[in-house]
Structures are given as C-alpha cells and as structure tokens.
Subunit: 398 residues, 2 copies
C-alpha cells in the first residue's frame, strides 16, 4: 500500500476538525519508510560532487544510510503537508532537519563514549574522534546553504523564519546538553524534577519535535498564532516521549526496544527516575550514588589497548588482571556493581512509578493539544501520521 | 595614540589609488588591540543572559578572553571601513567571524590533541572532551542569529551574501580539515605540493583571510567584481602566510614567535617541507617516515593516569618505566626520536629552502594584488592596516 507522499492534501474532501485516526501499524511504517527514501535521496543530492574533499562526504552519509527511524523528517514533512504545503516546499527543510540530527548524534556519541549506533560501530569508534568531530562540523556547515536557498523556493519571510527556528534549535540543544554534562560533573547542585523537564525541553523537545514540526509548518506558510499552538503541542509531546524513554531504559522487560539496557545508568545520567531516587534516598545512599554518578563510563578500546601493552611488556595474566581491576576500581570508572547499585536504588524508591505518573500528565496534555490542533488542519493522511506519533508515545508508556 | 576606529573614512580627503603605507609597529598593535576590545564587548553582548544554561556561556568566553591576536575580526572591520562602511555595519559580522574562529580552535585542539592554547590549557584539557565539543557546537549555534539580524541592519541582499560566505567558509574548512586528517591516517596517497596548496586554500585562506575580508567588504556594500578581486588577494596572501608559518615551525631560531616548537612534526602534519622531503627521500627513508607519520601524538594526561594506576597496583619504578617505554615504543605513539628523524629528513633535503622559495611567489603575488585593490579603496588608516598585514606576512619570511 503506497502512502502517497506526493498526493495533494485535499482540504475540501474532508472538513477541518474531523477526529483524526492514527494510521494502522503497517501504514505508519510505510509512511516512515517512504519519507526515509525521499529524504535520503535529497541528502545525497545536497552532497557536493567535487573532488579534493577526501572522504568527508562519504562519511557524512554513513549515519543517514544506516536504518534510522526518520521520525524527525517525517514530522517535518507531515506538518508541511497537513497544513497544506507541497512536498517540494517541505523536502529540503526535512532533509536539513535530518542532517542536523545526524551531526548531533555523531558529536553526542563522542561525548557519551557510545560504541554503537543503529547496530553498527559509532563513527568515532570506526574512524577516531578527530574525524568524527570534523564530520559533524562538516554536516553543520553543509546544512546552512540549503536553508539559504529556501529564499528562492519559499520567499524570504518563510525562509528566514525557518532559519531562526533552526538557530534556536541548535542553541537550545547545546544549552540542554551543557546542563546534562554539568550534572554529570560532580560538584554542581543536584537537579530537581523541574530542572529535568527544562533540560528535556531544550534537548529532546526542540530537536525531535518542536523544530521538525514548526519548520515544516512554516514552509507551508502557517501564521505565528498556529506556530504558537504547535510549539505547545510539541513541547508536551516531547517531554512525555523522553520520560517514557527513560522508564523503558531501566525496564528489563522492554529491552527488545532497541536501546542499550541500562545505558542511562552506565552513562550516569540524571533522569527523572534517578532524581526521584536521590531525593528519597538516605544521606548515606545519596552520598554513594553521587560518587558513583561522578565516575566515568569505562571505555572499551582504551582497556583493550592497555591489555595488549601490558602483555607485550611480559606481564602475566595475574598481574594484568590486578592492573585492570585497579583501573576499574579507581574512582574514575563506573563498574557493573555501581550500575547495579543505582538500579536497586531506583527500584527501592520506585523511580519508575514516579516517572510514569509524571509522564502521564504530559501524555494527557499532548492528546488534548492535538485535538486543538486538529481544528486547524484539514483531515489528511499526514495529520493521521501525527496522530499516530501521539498514539505511539502515549501507548508505549503502559 | 588612539587609532580611531570610530573615525569616518573620508574618501575625499585622500584620493583613491594613493600608495598605501603600512602602519608603524605601534600603530599596528594599537589597531589590533582596539579591535579586540570592541569585538569582545560585542561578543559579550551576544551572550544570552538567561539562567538555566549551566556554564555554557562562561565557557564560550574562555578563548575570546585569552589574549588572542584578533587578526580575523581586524581584517573584517578594516575591509568594511576601507570600503566606506561604518563601524556599526561591520562590528556584528566581525564578532561572528571571531566566534566561528574560536569554535574552530576548540574543536581543532581536541582533534590535534593540543594541550595549550594562548599560554593556558586547552578547553578539553581543562574540562574534558565532551564539554569542549559541546561548547564549540554552542558557539556555532549562537553565531547564526546575529547574521540573521544583519537583515535589519544591512538589508536583505548584503545579509544573505554574508551568510553565504560564512556557509562556504565552514564547508571549505571542514573539507580542508578532512584532507589533512586523511593524510595523517596511513594508507591514503601521499599529497604533492598542489594538493597541499589546495588544502591550505580551504583551511587557512577561507578561515583567516577570505571570509574575514569578504564579509567585511560585503557589509560595506561592495559589488561582486570587487569581491572577486578581494578573494584573489586573500587567497595568495593566505597561502603565503601558511607556508611561512610552516617554515617558522621547524626553524629553531624562530621559536620565540609563540607556537610550540616542531608542533607540526609532533602532530605528523604533511606540510610543504615534509612533502618535499618525502618526495626527495630514498625509498627506505620514505617508508620509515610514512610509518612515523602514521603514529599518534602521545597524550600527556593518559600516560600520567597510567603511571598513577600502575603505582597503586604496587608496581616498582623499574616496571613502570618498562611499561611506559613499551607504550611509547609501540607503533601507536610518536616519540622524540621519531620527531628528530623527521627534522633531519627535512634538513637533509632542504625542505625549508624549498618552502621559502614556494612562499616567495605567493608573497610577490599578494603585494601585486594589494596594489590593484588600492585603486578601489580610498586611502585610510584601515587600508593601511591591511597593508601592514601584507607587510607582516612578507617580511616574516626572511
């Protein structure tokens, strides 16, 4: 069944305000995969063809070519089409949104020391940190010109509003990332639930929901009042999404969902679950947890290299094991025992239950906000796609 | 003596085409330090005042607050004023040029594993790689909005041309960086002199000369023909500057000039000197040199940490020394002996002499191109400042 991305939204066929129905699971996947194909083709078209650039543009394509969800460009295109824009009005912006996301992932993977992304090695793991940083910078550099070219396609007003939204997205996201890195570094004040929501607003909401939906809608030419409504919807949806994501990360039964089990704990993240547990913990528990959270995530390759060197030096297995243990047990690296301690702490104070209840409010708000939005969009498959995303976030929490 | 940046260039006072005179050393320094002050104030003004951003904006100011030369914003403002623009037309763009430069330095320092920048520790050395990458990204994010605000100040045409120039600068610079990183990784084809010049065009010329001069001149409203002339001038000047810089880096007598002695050799860079030496070397020498260049630069902190861990494990000095030696002598890290070998190789085949002769051509071209440009700019202290930069590049080579 082809989801006709090229189909023109026909406002007259169904009247605005009709109740939106989520797509079937099959149609939802088909929509995403059609977007993936179109956006990837557009990204490939954006890559300069000249020689003398080394492997830069090949490496830029690595993450986009891995099988990602393409949720962000899909939201961008769906918003554009749902508000009456054409595919050609939205596609370039959707491609840029996906490119920014990939630049962010590359740098984020370096910052978090992640080893795998979309079932393959992360870029820095494969090519080293210097190349990974530069490829991320290259993507950011490449993304500016298509947004400037929008002036010819969409007119100056819309093009500048899209550029301003992208500028705000990059700023908010760097600010959110900094908050999280600051919390990870010991010594700063412990964040509370409102701090966490603010960080999520900056990091998750802007990148994954606000900017994709708004830039798509602006490309279609919607006015500032509707953009305002859209942002409110995207904000509550994004917060709900992130908190549910955090809950799933420590829920053993949900580990088929694709992310690294307990990855948040290995990274020492202050999620809402952790924040709640820290607030309820005894002073002794809290002091130990803070100490554990201040450690670094162990880096696989570094330790493997050390092993090889020690062996070359003629040290025996016993000596090497002692040194490895020492490296692991220094204050620098988080151990499996540390992660288990954090897990127990969260379970003891029902961090997951607290976070679920917290997410519940945002899920309900997102559903209400979406109903409001529906009165501004004619019924279409694109509106139904957005309904499906709401449905996905809301039902995933159970 | 105040170099009156605020002084209005008076085209009528002296006629265009007068021979330009370099400023005295004192006036040159005074011009730079006045620019530094004005640009820093503008950068501070650009920083958002809100709370809830962690240390992001404090850390963004770290490099700008260290005593840099401010050559790039000075070229930008000088070009703007020399072509008849006002300070307020150029200042925002000059500040953005300096911000981009600082973002580039932060990421470049991580990529090169540099430990010091402007006599203090590099940002990643002080705060860790994750924070340094994010601060660089934050600077790039922050730099976009002021360029969009230019539309109100300079009108749409100029603002968009400046944005396009900045987009091209970022792209060229990521491409140049990739070429250099590719050469550093073993296995790729050895670059020749034309490859080197192309890399320098992308990396040095665009960042340090083309974009600063062009954006300043565009802010002043010059036409495409004069921009074309300016780019030709900036290109030859930048190439001359970089090659002279490479020569000074291996010239022991010039090490008071502020850079790390033999830093290029420690980093394993393919400079023109190295490329020439590799081309002239015997097959045995070349094979050994290529092997040495493929190694990594040793990382200070990593080794210090290892020492501490080994000591904690109860190993004696002798054992630790053996392990350290092994780490140094593996194929991974470049040693002092390696650097000496590269130094000797360059001396044997007179890489410096070759590079000096190569630079000479570009120095002469830069002087000629500048005379052409002078016929398009009325005489002013700003034009004289640009003349001083040419003079600085040309006379430094001797």
């Amino acid at each position: 069944m082809p989801i006709t991305m090229h189909e023109r939204v026909d406002g007259a066929a169904r009247s605005a305000g009709d109740t939106s129905q989520p797509l079937s699971a099959g149609d939802f996947e088909a929509y995403l995969s059609e977007v993936r194909e179109i956006v990837l083709a557009e990204i490939v078209r954006m890559m300069p063809r000249g020689r003398h650039t080394g492997r830069l543009y090949d490496l830029m394509l690595e993450y986009p070519l891995r099988h990602g969800k393409s949720l962000r460009p899909a939201l961008c295109l769906a918003a554009c089409r749902a508000f009456g824009g054409t595919l050609s009005e939205g596609i370039r912006t959707a491609a840029v949104i996906e490119l920014y996301h990939n630049a962010f992932l590359i740098h984020d993977d370096v910052e978090d020391g992640s080893t795998h992304r979309r079932s393959e090695e992360t870029l820095h793991q494969k090519y080293g940190v210097p190349i990974a940083i530069n490829v991320g910078d290259g993507i950011l550099a490449l993304s500016l010109q298509p947004l400037l070219d929008n002036t010819r396609l969409l007119g100056l007003g819309r093009a500048l509003r899209i550029l301003e939204t992208v500028a705000a997205m990059s700023r908010e996201s760097a600010e959110g990332q900094m908050l999280e890195l600051d919390w990870a570094a010991s010594g700063s004040e412990e964040p509370g639930a409102p701090d966490y929501v603010r960080m999520v607003y900056k990091k998750t909401c802007w990148y994954s929901f606000i900017a994709p939906l708004e830039t798509g809608a602006i490309a279609a030419g919607i006015d500032a009042m509707r953009v305002f409504q859209l942002r409110k919807f995207a904000t509550v949806l994004g917060i709900a999404f992130q908190i549910v994501d955090d809950v799933l990360n420590v829920d053993a039964s949900a580990h088929e969902y694709g992310k690294e089990p307990y990855g948040d704990l290995w990274e020492g993240k202050r999620t809402l679950l952790m924040i709640h547990a820290l607030e309820r913990a005894t002073p002794t528990e809290r002091a130990h947890a803070v100490e554990v959270l201040a450690k670094q995530r162990p880096k696989g390759t570094e330790l493997e290299r050390l092993d090889a060197v020690l062996r070359e030096c003629g040290l025996g297995d016993q000596q090497i094991a002692t040194i490895r243990d020492a490296l692991h047990s220094t204050e620098r690296y988080r151990t499996a025992a540390d992660v288990e301690f954090l897990q127990r702490l969260i379970r003891r104070y029902d961090g997951a239950g607290y976070a679920r209840a917290y997410a519940e409010r945002y899920c309900i708000a997102a559903q209400r906000r979406f109903v409001l939005l529906c009165s501004m969009m004619p019924s279409s498959v694109h509106r139904d796609f957005i309904a499906s995303v709401v449905d996905f976030v809301v039902s995933r929490r159970k």
